[in-house]
Symmetry: C2
Subunit: 278 residues, 2 copies
């Protein structure tokens, strides 16, 4: 086993830690891998921590004791969150997004992998201490956001289907009523995709009255699972909402189909806790 | 602007390069950001390149000239690809996956974010030189794989829908016939989600006779787009296939519902080019 120079160690440790957010790596693993003293590893970690912290990427958390180690926690500070939200507001305000019926075209945003990763980092910051052990979303458009958030939290993803598919095996299905249009629908989640009694973080792209999110909350109850949190990329102003406690990055206040104008403002994220100053 | 020490530079450059695969970063950007001479930056890059190369993560490619710079290209070597394929074969052979009709339960694998990222890295290696400017998949289960692959290639994702949704705006729809069950269906892709005349990489989780992939190829023709490649996590042995040229990580040779046995072997990936020895 070759002995590593500090410079090479720093590169490899940065890769290992940042690619595996929230995963605890014992110091001994690094010491053995790089044939280095634990004190040298600690110095390396201090350097990585300081760069991550000062550049607003996150921080290294050291867990002491025999079962301890170090893990990378992604953290997006207030100014970076604000910048992302402003960028989203500008992009969402583009009148070219207006579709018949006042719907908004969002697929370009949800297909932009670097934007989606940034949103995932923000949700992972906000819900870092939520105790979630899985992220759930409903097909189709929420999947990239849920996947990006789960990556940054080191969690698995479970996807709720609108129609029950044979490839999901035994499923739990509930009926839903859309809060805004009163349409009937159903949501199904594979029995195997979520452990009984867990805690799930709900992520979706868009919430109007919240019928779909409400359905996911009801579905979780069937699994004796708790809701660790709800995060949506954008919500829209409605008179009555079926979900009380959620985090939104942006809020669509008005879609004027005739005048071809969309009014989008920051959501409730920055008013809430969970985002560090800086 | 503060001057950075080499150790801090290495940490931050590693993060910037590895988090943005295939994105060209001018050397001047680094030199200015860290208040360092270009010769020092070049030395840093040589260290990062050497660690990435020797650890099988990928390589840094330097593009000379005024519009040049450096970019990280993820590369998975043959032994890492082999290890991932073996892991997939073992997991897919679990008889607990067998569903009524001989279907296989795959959602746990597709919800495992670190496994999905590894598969994305392998596809990004194989298709690094394919000239793709987008990744496409069909809802629902292929989306995490397509997203992971697109992240590693620095490309956007477009999602083909099985039913045309109002939130997709103007769409192109084609009718399909499933190659194995002769069922009729349709595939729709939003006009805006793919530029005319581009090159798209098709990624999906499972291919039987290939009717869905064939449908996506036909759909791409409607956009005057070319197929940059086709990658699937697993295919299954069939008498006649509607798609000739594709890459599979694994092949399901037999699902014995009565005997509760699945036979899974490595797919065609390692027989093809595009994977480096090592």
């Amino acid at each position: 086993m070759k002995k590593w120079k500090r410079s090479a160690r720093l590169v490899h440790m940065t890769q290992q830690l940042l690619q595996n957010p929230h995963r605890l790596i014992p110091l001994g693993t690094f010491a053995e891998r790089y044939q280095a003293a634990k004190s040298s590893i600690s110095e390396d970690l201090a350097i990585i921590h300081e760069v991550c912290r000062s550049e607003g990427l996150g921080e290294l958390e050291t867990v002491p004791g025999a079962a301890g180690g170090v893990r990378f926690l992604p953290r997006v500070n207030r100014s970076s969150s604000r910048a992302l939200i402003d960028r989203l507001c500008r992009s969402l305000s583009d009148p070219g997004r207006i579709l018949p019926g006042g719907y908004l075209y969002l697929s370009d945003l949800l297909g932009d992998t670097s934007l989606v990763r940034e949103i995932g980092r923000v949700f992972a910051s906000v819900f870092a201490a939520s105790g979630a052990d899985a992220v759930i979303t409903v097909e189709t458009k929420g999947i990239p956001l849920a996947y990006a958030t789960a990556c940054q939290l080191g969690l698995p993803v479970a996807i709720v289907r609108r129609d029950s598919r044979i490839t999901e095996g035994s499923v739990v299905t509930i009926n839903t009523v859309s809060g805004s249009s009163k349409r009937l629908g159903s949501l199904s989640l594979s029995r195997r995709s979520l452990p009984e009694g867990g805690r799930a973080l709900i992520i979706d792209d868009f919430m109007k009255a919240g019928g779909t999110v409400r359905g996911m909350i009801d579905l979780l109850r069937e699994f004796n699972a708790e809701v660790a949190g709800v995060g949506v990329m954008t919500d829209s102003r409605v008179d009555e909402r079926l979900v009380e406690d959620y985090v939104s990055l942006t809020t669509v206040n008005e879609v004027d189909v005739k005048g071809q104008r969309i009014k989008v403002v920051p959501g409730n994220l920055l008013e809430r806790g969970g985002i560090q100053d800086g």
